[in-house]
Symmetry: C2
């Protein structure tokens, strides 16, 4: 499209804008585990309990459920009586659909006035029973995969406040976990820090965010700009990265997020046990980039929007390594990059926060 018509877009989009542009969930939550067969399918709910225990009032488990999140078991009537704000589906189903066996529970929750929050592909409102229950009670049906409707085109204009972005050498290398660990550590030190979610699980944990991979591509960097708005000079947004610049399936999302985030500090997430990109193979395998190349690639784009951008650490998945191998590998990364290298699951994110506060990096 022409720039003139794009700019018209931007103006008209801003003009039509109203209300908060990001999802906002109502806590406390009832975590819905349904009849989930194993913890692998309950990652969303377990992650929410791990990172936002204080927002979780209870769990709902039906016959056959093989997961226990350690919360009080509650019926939907219990939850409504206890003032629970939302039922959050904490389970992934095969195919991203909502199985028939859940529909009655979700409708009951909506009828009782609880918002129902879903990260599934199908929309809650496509189920007439759930839709009717929500309409009757005024409860909201929140599909966190649905991006806000009125997004602006990115401007590249510098915003106040400071930003950390986690980036990766691949998908699924700990970008969300690392951002959450950084937020927790920074808050523990009394810093003013907020995790900013860009995927559906992150949005459920944070209670707000924008599902970046669902955004229309013209508005990618605009959505990222909106996600971390201008803030106080001492405020840190800790932004959940997506994909990888080197991943031929998702690099566009990664680049739009990088540009829109204007990061002051970047953390590279990496899994040394992986040789080729996830989702590639079968004669068309893409090698994982070496960490120095991945960092240089990210920095060249980050500095376009923030000349002060620097890397402040590596977040390394060492779960496949013995303890002695583990430390040797982290030491090698530290020597090679001059940056702290930690596995946040085992080491926490303290060394990276030290580096952020030292205002140094590479």
């Amino acid at each position: 499209m022409s720039l003139a018509s794009r700019n018209e877009d931007v103006r008209s989009l801003h003009a039509r804008e109203s209300g908060p542009c990001t999802v906002q969930l109502r806590s406390p939550y009832l975590i819905y585990f349904g009849n989930v067969p194993d913890a692998g399918h309950a990652k969303t709910g377990l992650g929410l309990i791990q990172w936002r225990r204080e927002n979780c009032a209870g769990q709902f488990r039906s016959a056959g459920c093989q997961v226990d999140g350690g919360l009080a078991d509650m019926s939907i009537a219990d939850a409504a009586a206890a003032g629970v704000g939302s039922l959050v589906i904490g389970v992934a189903s095969e195919g991203g659909s909502i199985p028939d066996s859940w529909v009655g529970d979700l409708a009951e929750a909506a009828r009782a006035g609880l918002d129902v929050v879903s990260g599934m592909h199908v929309r809650l409102s496509d189920f007439p029973e759930i839709e009717a229950a929500a309409r009757a009670s005024g409860a909201r049906l929140i599909d966190v995969r649905t991006p806000p409707r009125r997004l602006p085109v990115g401007t590249g204009e510098k915003r106040s406040g400071r930003r950390i972005l986690t980036v990766g050498t691949d998908c699924a290398v700990g970008k969300k976990y690392t951002a959450l660990a950084l937020e927790r550590e920074m808050r523990a030190r009394g810093l003013n820090a907020d995790f900013r979610a860009t995927g559906q699980t992150g949005i459920m944990i944070a209670g707000s965010g924008i599902p970046l991979d669902c955004v229309v591509s013209d508005f990618l960097s605009g959505a990222a700009e909106l996600l971390s708005p201008a803030a106080a000079d001492d405020h840190w947004d800790v932004i959940e990265g997506q994909g990888a610049l080197s991943h031929p399936s998702f690099a566009g999302v990664s680049l739009g997020l990088l540009h829109g985030s204007q990061p002051d500090a970047l953390v590279l997430c990496h899994d040394p046990s992986r040789e080729v990109l996830l989702g590639t193979g079968g004669g068309r395998e893409f090698p994982i980039l070496p960490v120095d190349e991945a960092m240089a690639q990210c920095l060249s784009f980050a500095r376009r929007v923030n000349p002060a951008a620097r890397f402040v650490g590596l977040s390394v998945n060492t779960s496949m390594l013995a303890d002695n191998e583990r430390q040797a590998l982290l030491d090698r990364y530290e020597r090679e990059t001059g940056l702290p290298a930690v596995d946040p699951i085992k080491d926490g994110a303290g060394l990276i926060v030290d580096k952020i506060l030292s205002k140094t990096g590479v």
Copy 2:
């Protein structure tokens, strides 16, 4: 989202796929100029006549129209009698809407059985009079800004056939024009070449394509893969580029398109009179990258998906320069890059096609 659920997506999307994924227009066309006040607002229609004169049966102009595309004037009844397939809106309106004064004409065309083709922001079907007319006759209402519904995630898998992609140092630097000029020159030499459109004007000219900036970002490279499917070994797709990797508003689109296109040959489009990116300014200006830097940036990503990717020429907008300055500048670019540098409006694209066929480049 997790890779597992992404891959589920891909499978289910492929499974649900049916019918052509790209827009397909029905020619010949009646070009609708309405009451357009100047040629600047009629670029779509004039471009369609310039590049696909053989598909244009006539033009429709109402009182006050200040543009003449050089076609026979036709009423809608004339067009229907002459077997016209589609009325194509060749005009941009302020704000991207469809003015009241057009609605009766468009409904009349739909009632007469002509498909109606629009690149406006609003949807044709949002106008009850047009919608009812189309339903009655069976005519299609085609909004070329609406992307196909079932797009796959990109795979990075190598496809047969050859591909040229035009890239740029900015938006609106001739990427569409250059691709069309290359297609025309290649076809004139008897080569098997097809222009592949990624924006709405390009789609109207080509009669098919995918509006890449309207695609959900997770499917960017998948859409680009779909746009230039596997083809005969001697076939060339000439793909219309979008945006620029260096543009903080649109780089995500550019990168998804670059990855999905797997270009064998790249042409850099550049406007030497421009100092900062279009749409940036007001204290936040982004300098245009030097051509060597822009080329290196594109190549580093293009070679991820096609190690043989090379640049084969520069397409330079010299409209602001006197003739002697013009040639001196093109000569300088040729010396500096080792590639043919042409202004396709003045010089055609022949030198770049020579370079493509020589199988050399940088």
